[in-house]
């Protein structure tokens, strides 16, 4: 579970835009950059090099 205070403030490190939180997938998604940032052991990994490309359209 991500700390609500973190959720409120975190932004994409690349474009600084808003993120979508997907608790089931343990991911934070930036639709502008089409990147998914993983949450590991409750710590969001906001490293651009480790983000995963997100294919397709926003669901």
């Amino acid at each position: 579970m991500l700390d609500p205070k973190l959720l409120e403030i975190l932004a994409c490190p690349k474009c600084k835009g808003e993120l979508e939180y997907r608790p089931q997938e343990l991911k934070l998604i930036c639709w502008t950059c089409r990147l998914g940032y993983n949450i590991k052991d409750d710590i969001p990994v906001m490293l651009i090099d480790e983000a995963e490309p997100i294919p397709g359209d926003k669901k």
């Binding site: 975190l10 490190p13 600084k16 590991k40 052991d41 409750d42 710590i43 906001m46 090099d49």
Partner: protein, 251 residues
């Protein structure tokens, strides 16, 4: 930068390194607490520590203020250690690079750093990012940044300990002399900057525990054991370590 910070913890014993970071924090405490009072940190609502590592400073900030305290580091093993401690739960943690901060513009009243800039991959870019995420009037504080190249040990070993540690840090991707360059880096990033340096001095008679840990660390890093033995047998041992600080205000 990710690589450099991971190597910083050196293998399977992050607890030992946490003790080392606590000792560094102890060493620089009077300077840091003076800066806290000057900066009136009690008035801050949201604070970020960039390069928080295992949390020696972030936990202190969470205890001394009512602010929401965030900690960022590229090294996940350090963050996991911090999160595992009860005090660490008072800090909001994220893994990230100082050069690409994962926060919106104007988010923080204070950004604190401690023994961080020597590990920064691109210090000017990190300083610009800090400026971006500070609110107008917010402060970037380098609370302490060492200059290992000018460390003096009395008596000294062969090789001189300051040189030995500088070389080790350079091999691990750090810049052990960054402290002296902070003022320029902050000014070029657009901060109204004040900076200074003081000689931190410790003596064996007064603080024997510091020397105990210092010798243990030197042995771990492969400093010649015969030299270490003769140092331990010397009397009147002193370490003089220049420590830089810099305060940048976003106007």
């Amino acid at each position: 930068m990710v690589e450099a910070l991971s190597r910083n913890l050196r293998g399977p014993d992050p607890d030992w390194w946490h003790q080392r970071y606590l000792q560094q924090a102890e060493w620089t405490r009077s300077l840091r607490h003076h800066l806290y009072r000057w900066l009136e940190i009690a008035r801050c609502r949201r604070i970020l520590e960039v390069g928080c590592g295992t949390g020696a400073i972030a936990e202190e900030l969470a205890e001394r203020t009512t602010a929401e305290v965030h900690g960022l580091d590229a090294d996940r093993s350090a963050l996991a250690l911090l999160r595992g401690r009860p005090r660490g739960r008072g800090v909001c943690l994220a893994a990230g690079d100082a050069e690409a901060l994962p926060y919106p513009d104007g988010s923080f009243d204070l950004i604190a750093t401690h023994y961080f800039w020597l590990w920064a991959g691109d210090p000017p870019q990190a300083a610009r990012e800090c400026r971006r995420v500070l609110r107008s009037g917010g402060v970037l504080a380098a609370l302490a940044e060492p200059d290992y190249s000018r460390r003096k040990d009395v008596p000294n070993g062969n090789p001189p300990i300051g040189e030995f540690l500088s070389q080790d840090l350079k091999e691990r991707g750090a810049n052990p002399e960054i402290g002296a360059g902070l003022r320029d880096i902050f000014i070029q990033a657009g901060f109204a900057t004040e900076a200074g340096m003081l000689d931190g001095e410790v003596g064996l008679e007064v603080q024997p525990e510091i020397f105990q840990q210092e010798w243990e660390m030197l042995a771990r890093l492969g400093y010649p054991s015969s030299e270490l033995d003769s140092l331990k047998a010397s009397s009147g041992l002193k370490i003089i370590m220049p420590v830089h600080w810099a305060i940048g205000r976003r106007l």
